[in-house]
């Protein structure tokens, strides 16, 4: 039976979204090939998040309690996860390929002499042989990969897993894992951490997003979008072209290299719909596109399309909705 070790990252007393996604993915693999999910938690917390990991499908939660692990440090985390992998004789490690995963997956796989595969969204089984499915070429295609070594570290693409279903009554055991950490291991020293000015609503959590692209022609267009977004109780996003032009700050970027969003309504204004942009809105429920070019690829993703100059539509739309909504 495969022993699937999942890095269940926690913050405060809760699992992070990445931690939950990794558990969800690990559990799916386990039930498909007949395996057991074991979670590893690092830091200093109550048993709250270990219990959560069990509810998410782990039958064992290894709790590595150490104050030095409370703050993320790449060397300490790699060393510790390496140790847990070896000592528990894991067959595979599942890690969210989030900010931290991007540090961890390659290093762990190289040190363990096992395969690494990243940005995985799904898998297939064929006679117990697993193939990993991931987007390639800026989401224009999908590739299926076989790992060539017996064991592997698997990095899961952010926001690719359904994490809604887990059961409180799943049973498992919390096992304290002894691990001695020394400050000497720290090579990467944190100088300062700067929290970005928090806009009212995080793009990732927004229910409604009005996004603008190069087609807005300048920063002024964004204030029109902001007015509309405020009215709808939503927030403003942007394409990379608009961010690169300096019209809006880069933390508003939606897409493969920006925020991956899942709103109920996504209004794309003056955005052509490059695959890298669409990669950020695959989970958007309803997409509205406003674009002067009827041939723009965004119309192949949008549910509702308006072939029009945004300057004639957006102010009128705001006025109309004011009447309906207020």
């Amino acid at each position: 039976m495969a022993n699937i070790l999942v890095f269940a990252h926690q913050q405060g007393d809760f699992l992070t979204p990445g931690g939950k996604e990794a558990l969800a993915f690990g559990s799916r693999v386990a039930s498909s090939i007949g395996g057991e999910v074991r979670a590893v938690l690092l830091g200093t917390t109550s048993e709250q998040s270990a219990k959560e990991a069990i509810a998410c499908g782990a039958s064992i939660a290894y709790n590595v309690q150490n104050p030095l692990l409370a703050e993320y440090n790449v060397e300490l985390y790699v060393n510790c996860l390496y140790d847990v992998f070896q000592q528990t004789n894991a067959d595979m490690m599942v890690v969210s390929f989030d900010r931290m995963g991007k540090d961890l997956v390659g290093r762990l796989a190289a040190r363990l002499h096992v395969s690494a595969i990243t940005e995985v969204v799904d898998f297939k089984t064929n006679d117990e042989k697993l193939t990993w499915i991931r987007p390639i070429y800026g989401e224009k295609a999908f590739g299926e990969y076989e790992t060539t070594r017996l064991k592997a570290v698997v990095g899961i693409r952010q926001k690719s897993q359904d994490i809604t279903e887990f059961t409180e009554n799943h049973i498992g055991e919390i096992i304290p894992f002894e691990y001695t950490v020394s400050k000497e291991e720290i090579v990467t020293k944190l100088v300062v951490k700067i929290q970005a000015a928090l806009s009212d609503i995080r793009l990732e959590d927004a229910r409604i997003i009005v996004s603008g692209g190069r087609g807005l022609g300048g920063p002024e267009g964004f204030s029109e979008l902001q007015t509309l977004a405020n009215l709808l109780g939503g927030t403003v996003g942007a394409s990379r072209a608009a961010c690169d032009a300096g019209w809006v700050p880069s933390n508003l970027q939606v897409g493969q290299t920006g925020a991956v969003v899942a709103p109920d309504l996504y209004i794309a204004v003056g955005i052509s719909g490059a695959s890298q942009h669409l990669a950020g809105i695959t989970s958007a429920k309803t997409v509205v596109a406003i674009n002067t070019d009827a041939e723009a690829p965004i119309f192949k993703r949008a549910n509702i399309g308006l072939v029009a100059d945004y300057m004639t539509v957006i102010p009128a739309l705001t006025e109309k909705l004011k009447k309906v909504l207020v």
Partner: protein, 264 residues
């Protein structure tokens, strides 16, 4: 101070989906030479490398690419950026390598070149987006790795890097030598090349190395993952294009629709 920047030759990420096909036999995209470009984050890394060199007396930049002869195009580009040297490593049987194998081979190449105080890569190549080469090289060379770096500063024998962090950014400091994987930022927008530099780059030498020049580990130069199938997935949605003569009419229709669908 020797800075090595690793450059990958990739399919142009901006290629329109209409012109994008996966060959059903080879599972590779059907491409012509003109569709290949320098990976965009690697180009940001190159720009940063040149800027650092120009600020640091005695520093040099070597552009390094694992790729076939066609990829010399991007090394020429690096030379036109005024990189001091260009190195290409290649073997016919390296056609299907992944980031793990590439990371191993590039790390051994850097050793062969006498090492480097700073190794820069893009954070994820825009074709397969593995995001592995930087961290793997760091592990191979047993040096630190900072990922998702937007700005770099040399600070004596340490490197100070600003990198993306959850909900903002961090500044970290690591001892040199180190690997940094670079993201795009205002400060590393690739420069416009001078015609003179492009011309000069044409006649500069490119050093070509093969596996026998490197002390490779036979196992680690094998890929950890192999592509067994690839396909374009049709994700097209049926779009309802609202009819209307002017913005006002369209706006009205859209408002009604959003309300009727109970989205608002």
């Amino acid at each position: 101070m020797h800075i090595v920047v690793c450059l990958k030759h990739v399919l142009d990420p901006e290629i329109t989906p209409r012109n994008f096909e996966i060959n059903p036999v080879t599972y590779r995209p059907n491409v012509s030479d003109s569709d290949m470009v320098l990976d965009s984050f690697a180009e940001n890394a190159l720009e940063l490398a040149i800027q650092l060199r120009d600020k640091t007396p005695g520093a040099t930049v070597t552009a390094l690419c694992l790729g076939n002869e066609d990829s010399e195009e991007i090394l020429r580009r690096a030379l036109a950026f005024t990189a001091n040297a260009a190195v290409r490593v290649w073997e016919e049987e390296w056609e299907d390598l992944d980031g793990q194998a590439v990371g191993h081979i590039l790390a051994r190449t850097i050793k062969k070149l006498g090492g480097a105080e700073l190794v820069l890569t893009g954070y994820q190549a825009s074709d397969i987006e593995e995001g592995l080469v930087g961290p793997i090289m760091a592990e191979e060379l047993e040096i630190p790795c900072v990922t998702l770096v937007s700005e770099l500063e040399l600070d004596g024998d340490r490197v100070k890097a600003s990198c993306e962090a959850e909900g903002g950014y961090s500044v970290v400091s690591v001892p040199s030598p180190a690997v940094c994987t670079i993201i795009s930022a205002e400060s590393n927008v690739p420069r416009l090349l001078k015609v003179k530099d492009i011309r000069l780059a044409r006649s500069k030498p490119i050093t070509v190395l093969e596996s026998e020049d490197l002390d490779l580990d036979s196992e680690r130069s094998q890929p950890g993952a192999r592509l067994v199938k690839a396909y374009v997935q049709n994700t097209e949605v049926n779009c309802e294009v609202l009819p209307g003569n002017d913005g006002d009419e369209l706006a009205g229709k859209l408002a009604d629709k959003l309300v009727a669908l109970k989205i608002l």
